[in-house]
């Protein structure tokens, strides 16, 4: 099956499993580089990784604060 294919010494199934760690920057350097190389050589994983990353970016934007009108001016300080 295509998802058992190995590129840069790592299989597509392993890349799938590590995507959350990858976008968090939570992998050791050698592992991250290995996935970078896999993505460069595997269009399926590159496309899917891009879609996964775009999903997370889109979700973060849902939580971005909308512009709100200014609150009432600060009340006078009570000493």
């Amino acid at each position: 099956m295509a998802h058992e294919r190995e590129v840069a010494g790592i299989r597509c199934t392993e890349v799938l499993a590590l995507l959350a760690d990858y976008i968090d920057g939570d992998l050791p350097d050698h592992r991250r580089r290995q996935i970078d190389e896999h993505l460069a050589g595997c269009s399926w994983c590159e496309d899917f990784g891009g879609a996964y990353g775009a999903l997370v970016t889109g979700l973060r934007e849902l939580g971005a604060p909308a512009p709100t009108p200014p609150l009432d001016p600060a009340p006078p300080k009570v000493e």
Partner: protein, 201 residues
């Protein structure tokens, strides 16, 4: 707690704990939308979400002195919101539960989840990505098709930006399970979005 002038939440929480209602109003305004977003995920109607949001801030006002700043104020408020939603659900006897579908098996094969999410398939038509508002609406709608735990982990981590520790505390699950749950929930969300595009909605 010593006030940290770089953290408005901490400064306002400290002031509110001494009875400063204006300070509480500021922090409530800052987090109202986040509480409302999560309440909306946990309740069957906009009105119920309003009720949960109100109850959350009432409880927060009463207990603000107990905020320990061992996590963010937002996480503390969202934890209160979750408990409030659970209490409301228990009171709502005879009404359908808020979950849109049963939570799926946590041990579901990752490759199957990936395939359903579009792994190994042609990427979606880039034309579909042009309309930002429709994309946001589609994301929100697709989130509502997920089981409650999937919705919550995505909302808390990806939308509200809480840390994994804070998410674990709110969901009452071991810290090490949060990222795997989140990853699977994201894949199910992608599958739901794909289905909507395939259905032409």
């Amino acid at each position: 707690m010593t006030p940290d002038h770089d953290d408005p939440d901490l400064a306002d929480a400290v002031a509110a704990a001494t009875g400063d209602r204006v300070a509480f109003g500021r922090l409530a305004a800052r987090h109202h939308d986040a509480v409302m977003r999560v309440a909306r995920l946990l309740t069957p109607s906009a009105q119920a979400a309003e009720d949960v949001t109100q109850e959350t801030f009432l409880a927060a006002l009463q207990h603000i002195a107990s905020f320990r700043a061992d996590g963010s104020l937002r996480a503390w408020l969202l934890q209160i919101a979750r408990h409030s939603a659970l209490r409301l659900a228990r009171r709502r006897v005879g009404q359908p539960p808020p979950e849109a579908q049963l939570d799926v098996d946590e041990h579901e094969d990752l490759a199957s989840l990936g395939v359903a999410a579009g792994w190994g398939q042609p990427p979606p038509d880039p034309e579909r990505d042009l309309d930002l508002q429709r994309r946001r609406d589609a994301l929100r709608d697709a989130l509502l098709t997920l089981g409650e735990n999937d919705r919550l982990v995505i909302q808390l981590r990806d939308v509200e930006g809480l840390t994994y520790e804070e998410v674990a505390r709110i969901l009452e699950v071991p810290l090490t399970t949060v990222k795997p749950r989140l990853h699977r929930a994201r894949l199910r969300l992608m599958a739901s979005l794909r289905q909507r595009f395939d259905d032409g909605t």
